[in-house]
């Protein structure tokens, strides 16, 4: 069983991340990294939908928040602004999720647009690469008591950090590209 897991991990790393020795990112590798980054963003979008849903139990939402937090680099923040003001309000990722969970609606529906945009990867002074993925989220909250129905569409610009890491599998050193999410800029749009 252990050998199978090792073989699976090895195949996964080499297939999805195109393990290479050099530092330059070729178009093919960029595409592989984009796919991996997009998977993380998709995971995040699922977690956001779960955390925001009123059907989600408190304990379950907390567990999902833990998972969602694991997608982010330490210290990542959400910077939120509305149509009325461009001023950014800052929240730690966990706090943002907690606020989302605590929203005072009886019914919440979070959906996502089928469009996303992935930037080029730029290298930072420390050698890590950074990029931004833009996605759009539709939020609908309904309060039965007041009959209020709130809707908005937000643009989410999500930082991704891409770093080459090493792991030991069956005594061999294998290099792979790892993706972490960073700061997220949340802008309310007129869409």
């Amino acid at each position: 069983m252990k050998n199978k897991v090792i073989l699976f991990l090895g195949l996964f790393l080499s297939a999805s991340l195109a393990v290479m020795a050099q530092d330059n990112i070729s178009p093919a590798r960029k595409q592989a990294i984009d796919s991996l980054a997009l998977e993380k963003v998709k995971d995040l979008s699922k977690y956001v939908s779960i955390i925001g849903s009123k059907e989600t139990q408190f304990s379950e939402a907390n567990r999902v928040m833990d998972r969602a937090e694991e997608l982010f680099a330490p210290g990542a923040e959400m910077g939120v602004s509305s149509i009325n003001t461009q001023e950014v309000a800052y929240y730690k990722v966990r706090r943002y999720f907690e606020r989302l969970m605590a929203l005072n609606y009886d019914r919440v529906n979070i959906t996502w647009y089928d469009i996303q945009y992935i930037s080029d990867l730029e290298r930072q002074p420390d050698g890590r690469y950074v990029g931004v993925i833009t996605v759009y989220q539709r939020f609908e909250g309904t309060s039965i008591e007041t009959g209020m129905n709130y809707k908005d569409t937000t643009k989410k610009d999500i930082t991704i950090y891409v770093e080459k890491k090493q792991t030991q599998i069956a005594g061999r050193t294998i290099e792979f590209w790892d993706v972490m999410l960073g700061d997220v800029r949340v802008t309310e749009t007129s869409a």
């Binding site: 178009p27 995040l44 059907e55 001023e87 309000a89 996502w112 945009y117 930072q124 007129s190 869409a191």
Partner: protein
């Protein structure tokens, strides 16, 4: 090991059963073309300007691709990279600019890493208990293994009124034989005068950024928030343009050219002085 698989399976089941779902799920909203048309990132502005991506932005073109910097593709992009709703850029000036950029003999492109473009970032700080607007002029520079944004200039009103150097016969001065007195009259500059800047050389320019950093280190300045952003471009020879973000309904949205100037002799320096708040 079986337990781990069960946990993974359970968690996957939870995720797949929640309404709303994530990106790519069956509940995804189809874009009616507005989000696709929007220039969503400045990165996309660069790529569209240069003709380095597909119309819908899903494919990045590289030098080996046949459509890389394709002229008709660029022409289409350049047309939509202008604020066509509120800007005062005339259609004639816009066409002249597009012709320059698409010139067969000498086409012009934007380069992310090259000098000649700046970010203007509006922020709010608390300075000695009062909320104040601070503007930073920022630029990209090479550093270490990559690149970084750095502060090139800070514009902060409270500092500008700090220095009010008079000139000519109106100003305080140290007379030209002060050296014979061992500069004992420095007392006039540092004790009696409330404008010690009067005793500096003609070439003296206050370094507001140094003062700003000093005040930060003294905990007299506290960052609050970012409140605005725009970009200034001088990379196209003979032209200046400004790029702003337009968050509004419709198809002409995102990062767009809001101001365009054909540069005559000395115009670039004048505009730069204006941006750097030196005029």
């Amino acid at each position: 090991m079986r337990k781990i698989f069960l946990i993974i399976a359970f968690f996957t089941a939870i995720i797949s059963n929640v309404p709303g779902q994530g990106i790519g799920s069956p509940g995804t909203i189809k874009d009616d073309g507005r989000l696709s048309a929007s220039t969503k990132q400045l990165n996309q502005f660069f790529r569209r300007f240069n003709g380095e991506e597909s119309i819908d932005g899903t494919v990045r073109f590289y030098p080996e691709d046949s459509l890389y910097r394709n002229v008709p593709l660029r022409k289409g992009f350049l047309d939509i990279l202008f604020d066509n709703q509120t800007s005062s850029v005339s259609p004639d000036l816009k066409n002249q600019f597009i012709q320059t950029v698409l010139s067969e003999a000498y086409p012009h492109y934007l380069n992310f890493h090259r000098e000649g473009w700046y970010a203007e970032v509006d922020t709010y700080f608390t300075f000695k208990g009062k909320r104040e607007q601070v503007t930073f002029i920022m630029k990209i520079q090479a550093e270490g293994l990559g690149y970084e944004w750095v502060i090139d200039r800070v514009i902060f009103e409270p500092f500008k009124t700090l220095f009010n150097k008079q000139v000519g016969d109106q100003k305080d001065f140290l007379h030209p034989l002060s050296h014979e007195l061992g500069f004992m009259n420095l007392r006039r500059a540092f004790q009696d005068s409330n404008s010690p800047e009067s005793f500096t050389a003609n070439s003296y320019e206050p370094d507001y950024l140094a003062i700003f950093l000093y005040e930060m280190k003294q905990n007299n300045l506290r960052f609050e928030t970012v409140s605005g952003l725009k970009f200034h471009f001088f990379q196209i020879q003979g032209w200046y343009f400004e790029v702003n973000q337009f968050n509004r309904p419709g198809f002409n949205t995102g990062w767009l050219i809001s101001n365009l100037v054909r540069l005559g002799p000395g115009d670039k320096e004048t505009i730069l002085k204006h941006i750097y708040d030196q005029d």
